[in-house]
């Protein structure tokens, strides 16, 4: 129960950052893909850099998490260049369309954009389709 409250609080902070940092704004994403503002590059660059410093340092020093277990490295996927590029490109085609980025879908719902429920429904259809035809794709 206590753990769940911590997840809820972390998520709440995430939602506030995504909103106040304008990361949920499709206009910001459109602007990013047009290279007309540094904003999104600054956000993603800062986050990745700080995360990298934290996790690489923490793994090296054997830091423990709150439950006393060592921090875990996220295992990479088995390398398949074609798959990663293809999957990424399909995702990217959607990312550039309004409201279609998984984190922002949930945050935009809280802001009051009900249409994200339709986008979420589309995302579930896409996920289901992947489950049905995955054997035909390179993995």
């Amino acid at each position: 129960m206590k753990k769940n409250i911590l997840y809820l609080l972390t998520g709440t902070f995430f939602g506030i950052v995504m909103t106040k940092g304008e990361i949920v704004s499709w206009y910001r994403i459109h602007e990013m893909f047009r290279f007309e503002s540094f904003h999104m590059y600054g956000v993603i660059g800062t986050a990745v850099l700080l995360n990298m410093l934290f996790i690489q340092w923490g793994l090296k020093k054997g830091w423990k998490n709150l439950w006393g277990e060592p921090l875990e490295a996220k295992p990479p996927l088995p390398l398949n260049v074609k798959r990663h590029l293809l999957a990424g490109t399909i995702f990217g085609l959607g990312w550039a369309l309004p409201g279609a980025c998984p984190g922002p879908i949930y945050v935009l719902l809280g802001i009051g954009y009900w249409v994200v429920l339709l986008i979420l429904f589309g995302a579930l259809l896409g996920t289901l389709t992947y489950g049905l035809i995955r054997h035909k794709l390179p993995h």
Binding site: L8, L79, H84, A87, A96, I105, A123
Partner: protein, 202 residues
């Protein structure tokens, strides 16, 4: 009295749009908090969990192998994300719509997405004029965007949070390639397909 004024000043201060360095640091704090809680940051896997809950296991064995109990934490995390969106927009709302660059505004105007009028809420977050429940084009665009990210994120085992924010920090080559793909797709859509798609749908 003094405390009251101080509180209002702090409220004014955090209501301003946050600088990219502050926002980036905030996202990093989320990543660090989840790492310390023993979890990897990732949002899109909730799509397959929702599919599994809805009974997709009857259609594809892919959804039968999903371990729901170990993902229960995501319900709390994302409920928080919804709540955070409400707090960020209703309790500490920005005084102006998102200040995107003048050249982007001009381009959007030229393809029929005037800024900020295209966003019915006037916040500069989502162009509801082209993504909505009420027009055929709006429904198609919303479903198409959702479908592509749902399919792509599952095929690639992750989205912006799992690959860009997390995978790159873990120095995973598969994540780097996936993120390069995100940009290939995003650039193709923005520069080649988006304007023709709008002409077709609206």
């Amino acid at each position: 009295m003094y405390l009251n004024t101080l509180f209002l000043n702090v409220l004014d201060f955090v209501s301003q749009p946050w600088h990219w360095a502050v926002a980036g640091t905030g996202i990093s704090l989320v990543f660090i908090a989840l790492a310390l809680l023993g979890r990897h940051f990732g949002v899109s896997s909730t799509f397959e969990q929702l599919c599994a809950v809805a009974g997709a296991g009857r259609l594809s064995d892919y959804f039968r192998s999903i371990d729901l109990p170990s993902n229960k934490w995501r319900i709390f995390f994302l409920s928080g994300a919804v709540l955070g969106g409400y707090i960020g927009s209703h309790l500490i709302p920005s005084p102006e719509p998102v200040a995107i660059s003048a050249s982007t505004v001009a381009e959007l105007e030229s393809i029929g997405v005037p800024y900020p009028e295209s966003d019915a809420l006037g916040l500069g977050m989502l162009p509801t004029s082209i993504s909505n429940f009420t027009t055929t084009g709006g429904v198609v665009l919303a479903l198409l965007g959702g479908f592509l990210i749902g399919f792509g994120a599952r095929y690639g085992r992750g989205c912006t949070s799992g690959h860009a924010i997390t995978g790159l920090a873990h120095l995973n080559l598969s994540s780097l390639l996936t993120v390069i793909g995100f940009f290939i797709g995003g650039l193709l859509m923005t520069h080649l397909f988006f304007a023709p798609l709008l002409r077709l749908l609206f």
